[in-house]
């Protein structure tokens, strides 16, 4: 099976700091992958590169066989222009740690704005789809509310609906519950589990929520200093980690819980 997402020898630097060093990574269609590891290990950077929020200094990123940050022109790979990036972005969506809902729009409008103005869908169709999604995330009664009136958990669920409205093939979650009060975490995780079950969606999730990983993930990848030092099924990683660093990290996470 060809990977849907492939990082091939990718290097990412922030100034002098090398965050990803000759990094290789594959994600397969319909896979649910969880990325874990200490902060600064590069997991969020992987998501951001895929979402075109960060560029790369070396290597190639492929989505469904086509380069993301490069264009094929005359048999060569040249840095991608804006038009190419926009085309590639259609495959990917993102849910942010801090929700990033548009404060000057209602929840409904947040969800319909991009489908209408980016995908060219009619407003009526966009609203219909939005209402379906709101139903799914349990926010149907909040469609006319503004983000300022919502709790953190509600905001994140609205953000998930917003991302799903664009029908991405890969939906990424960058620490979706880290900014939430403990009582709300469960609600959001539930929505994410629902997404994992009911939809033929590829999901890449950066999180510390091990319960979620255990229930939903096909594969857990453990990051440390810009590389995946260990990966496997949740069972393998959590019960029988082979790397010392992994064990260290799991211990510290468990101690918090």
């Amino acid at each position: 099976m060809t990977p849907l997402v492939r990082f091939d020898n990718v290097t990412k630097r922030f100034g002098d700091l090398v965050v990803l060093d000759r990094f290789d990574f594959d994600v397969f269609p319909s896979e649910k992958v969880v990325l874990m590891g200490p902060s600064g290990s590069g997991k969020s950077t992987v998501l951001r590169i895929l979402m075109t929020l960060e560029d790369i200094q070396d290597g190639v990123v492929y989505i469904d066989g086509e380069p993301l940050w490069h264009e094929r022109r005359g048999g060569r790979l040249l840095p991608a222009g804006e038009a190419h990036l926009r085309r590639m972005r259609e495959h990917v969506g993102m849910v942010f740690q801090h929700f990033n809902l548009f404060p000057n729009m209602t929840v409904l409008r947040n969800i319909t704005e991009a489908p209408v103005h980016v995908l060219g869908i009619s407003r009526a169709d966009a609203v219909a789809r939005a209402e379906e999604l709101l139903e799914m995330v349990g926010m149907a009664d909040k469609r006319d509310s503004y983000p300022a009136q919502l709790s953190g958990g509600q905001k994140q669920r609205a953000a998930i609906a917003r991302a799903m409205a664009m029908r991405p093939r890969v939906l990424m979650f960058d620490e979706p519950t880290s900014a939430l009060d403990p009582e709300m975490v469960g609600g959001v995780l539930q929505v994410m589990e629902q997404l994992a079950e009911e939809h033929d969606l590829t999901m890449i999730v950066v999180t510390h929520e091990m319960g979620f990983a255990r229930d939903v993930a096909d594969r857990v990848c453990f990051f440390d200093r810009g590389r995946v030092i260990e990966q496997g099924s949740p069972d393998e990683i959590f019960s029988r980690p082979s790397e010392e660093r992994t064990r260290q990290f799991l211990r510290s996470v468990l101690k918090e819980a």
């Binding site: 979402m51 990917v92 942010f96 990033n100 548009f102 991009a114 664009m166």
Partner: protein, 220 residues
């Protein structure tokens, strides 16, 4: 007091002119501010340069020099502007340059997460600017814009020096005629003060309406 009642109609004529020049130049100036402020953060180097030049020149030189230049120097190259046109043009260009920095600053001050979310949803940069960033930035700009509007009102008095018959021109004329300095100039100052207060409260009203529209207040 008797003298005041005789002088008032004449002063009010000047007041009317002051009001419309201030309104016109503030509105045109606001448009210029947005144009230059947005140009300054555009990806086109040419636009950035042009905007930067406009802002530096009009912020770096004195308004009265600009007015004199428009009114006295331009005829030399065949462009003869009336006091009204020169006055409104000078005021607009001046406030436009100061406002441009405010616009630019406010756009850059919007939470970067908003821009990232817009990018993630595949909005074009132009769509992101107009649909997401500007609506939020406008609320931030209002308090400073209110100050600029009042500054513009005060600056409008300078057009009297290029023969525009505004409130200050009338006041000077009357003072010259009647030598009743204190009542005339005192009343003139008072009229400007009242106008300034009206502008301030008008802008506060506008700011509140915009904040509501931008979903800031949380109650609807």
């Amino acid at each position: 007091m008797d003298t005041l009642s005789k002088l008032l109609p004449s002063l009010l004529q000047g007041l009317e002119v002051t009001v419309w020049i201030t309104l016109a130049s503030t509105l045109i100036g606001a448009l210029l501010s947005f144009a230059a402020g947005i140009a300054k953060i555009s990806r086109s180097r040419v636009l950035r340069l042009l905007a930067g030049l406009y802002i530096e020149v009009f912020r770096g030189t004195s308004l009265l020099v600009q007015l004199f230049w428009l009114y006295y120097a331009l005829p030399v190259i065949g462009l003869r502007l009336s006091p009204e046109v020169a006055g409104v043009a000078g005021l607009s260009l001046n406030i436009g340059a100061y406002g441009a920095e405010v616009v630019r600053g406010a756009i850059l001050a919007v939470d970067p997460g908003q821009y990232e979310a817009a990018t993630a949803l595949n909005f074009t940069p132009r769509q992101s600017l107009w649909r997401i960033l500007l609506p939020q930035a406008v609320v931030e700009m209002m308090p400073t814009f209110a100050n600029l509007a009042i500054q513009n009102l005060k600056d409008s008095a300078l057009v009297s020096l290029i023969s525009l018959v505004d409130l200050t021109f009338k006041a000077e004329q009357l003072r010259n005629l009647t030598l009743e300095t204190v009542p005339i100039l005192g009343l003139t100052l008072l009229l400007y003060f009242v106008l300034a207060l009206l502008i301030a409260s008008g802008m506060r009203f506008l700011e509140r309406r915009l904040a509501l529209a931008a979903g800031r207040e949380g109650t609807r």
